[in-house]
C-alpha cells in the first residue's frame, strides 16, 4: 500500500473559461511538478480533450481519469468519470443531446480548443459548453451508475453551481461515491456545515482553470494509481482510504 496524490477536477483549454495554457502536456507537466500521481480531466459538458490528456499522462507516468463536469437542469455541477473512453464518449453523446444548441461566443466566453497530446490545436468546438443540460441531477446519477461511472457532486461548498446551494442537501436517491469540496474549505468545516454529507467520503480538488492552480488536494492510500484501486479506496476496502488534504489557502 502506498500514498498517492490526486487532483480530480482539472479543466483543459476546451472549457471556454479555462486559460489556453491548459494544454494536455502542460497540465501533465504541472501535475508532475506538484507531485501528483493521478488527475481527473473534467471539462464542462464535454470530454473532447480526454484522450489527448491520457496519452500525455501515459508518457510521463501520470494516471489520467477521464470525465465530464455535467451541468444539470438545476444548475448543479456534477463530476462524472468513467473507466474507459468508449463509455465516456457514449456518455458525452448523451450530454451533447441534452445541451441547448447555442454557438460559443468566443470573444465573450473564451475559445473552446480541441487539442492533441502534444498540445497542438486541432480544432474548436462550436456548441457553447457553459450551459445547463436538460438532465436532472437524479437522472445523471442514475444513468452514470448504469454506465459504470462515478458520480461526484462538485464543489458543494461553493455559492454557485453547487448541489447543496441549489438543492439544499444531498438527495437520498443520488447515492454519490463521494462529494467534492473546493480548495477554500476543510472537510471538518464542510461536515459541520452540511449534515447531509455525513457518511460520504470527501475529496478536495483544484477545479483548475489555469496551470498554477493544479495541486495535490487529495491523498489516496491504495495499491496503485488505477481506476480499480480508486474505486476500492472510495469504498475504504482493505485498509485503503481517500481523504482531502486540509490545507486551507
Amino acid at each position: 500500500m502506498k500514498l498517492f496524490f490526486a487532483d480530480l477536477h482539472i479543466h483543459t483549454a476546451l472549457s471556454p473559461c479555462a486559460e489556453n495554457e491548459m494544454t494536455p502536456p502542460a497540465i501533465i507537466k504541472a501535475a508532475k511538478a506538484e507531485g501528483l500521481d493521478i488527475i481527473g480531466i473534467s471539462d464542462h459538458n464535454s470530454a473532447e480533450n480526454v484522450v489527448a490528456a491520457i496519452e500525455a499522462g501515459a508518457a510521463e507516468g501520470v494516471t489520467v481519469i477521464g470525465g465530464i463536469e455535467v451541468q444539470t437542469v438545476e444548475d448543479v455541477h456534477v463530476l462524472t468519470f468513467f473507466p474507459c473512453v468508449d463509455t465516456l464518449f457514449r456518455w458525452q453523446d448523451e450530454v451533447y443531446s441534452a445541451l441547448p444548441d447555442i454557438e460559443n461566443d468566443e470573444k465573450r466566453f473564451g475559445e473552446q480548443l480541441l487539442m492533441d497530446s502534444n498540445g497542438n490545436v486541432t480544432g474548436k468546438l462550436r456548441t457553447f459548453l457553459l450551459a445547463s443540460t436538460s438532465m436532472s441531477v437524479d437522472y445523471v446519477g442514475k444513468r452514470v451508475r448504469e454506465l459504470g461511472g462515478l458520480v461526484i457532486p462538485a464543489h458543494i461548498d461553493r455559492p454557485s453551481f453547487s448541489l447543496i446551494r441549489n438543492l439544499g442537501f444531498v438527495p437520498d436517491t443520488l447515492l454519490p461515491c463521494c462529494v467534492e469540496i473546493s480548495k477554500n474549505t476543510s472537510s471538518g468545516s464542510a461536515k459541520e456545515r452540511f449534515s447531509s454529507i455525513a457518511g460520504l467520503p470527501v475529496i478536495k480538488s483544484s477545479d483548475a482553470h489555469r496551470l498554477s492552480e493544479i495541486s495535490a488536494y487529495t491523498e489516496i492510500l491504495m495499491e496503485e494509481a488505477s481506476w480499480e484501486e480508486l474505486l476500492l479506496a472510495l469504498a475504504f476496502v482493505g485498509g485503503r482510504s481517500i481523504r482531502p488534504l486540509d490545507i486551507v489557502c
Binding site: D138, R165, N166, L167, G168, F169, P171, T173
Partner: protein, 120 residues
Amino acid sequence: MDRRVTVGDIAKELECEVVAGKSCLDNEVSFGYSSDLLSDVMAGAGPGDVWVTVQVHQNIIAVASLTGISAIIVAGGAAPADETVLRANEEGIPLLTTAKPSFEVAGRLYSMGIRGRVKT
C-alpha cells in the same frame, strides 16, 4: 384582510393546476417567498409561506416540509418530476403548476394581498 388567503384561493385566482396535495387546499397562506436556491429557501422561508420556484427536483418537497411552507407554485411551465409529485402527496404539500413566469406569479400574489416575508 378579513380572512387569510388559502392555497385554494390562489390556485383559483392564478388558474394553477394542482398536481399534488389536493387535500390540503385549505392551508392558509401567511407570506410569499420566491427563490430557486433551496439552501436560501431553507434559511429564509417560514411557516405558512407560499413559495414560487422553477425548481422541480424532489428536494423541494422536503424543504417545504422542513420550513412549514403552505404551498409550492412551480412557475414557468416547468413539470415536476414524478418523484416530486409522489413525495408531495406523501407529505401533504400542495404542489401547483402554472405556465406563468415567476415574476408574473409573484405580482399576482401581491395583488391578492400577500406580502414578502421580512427576514428577521
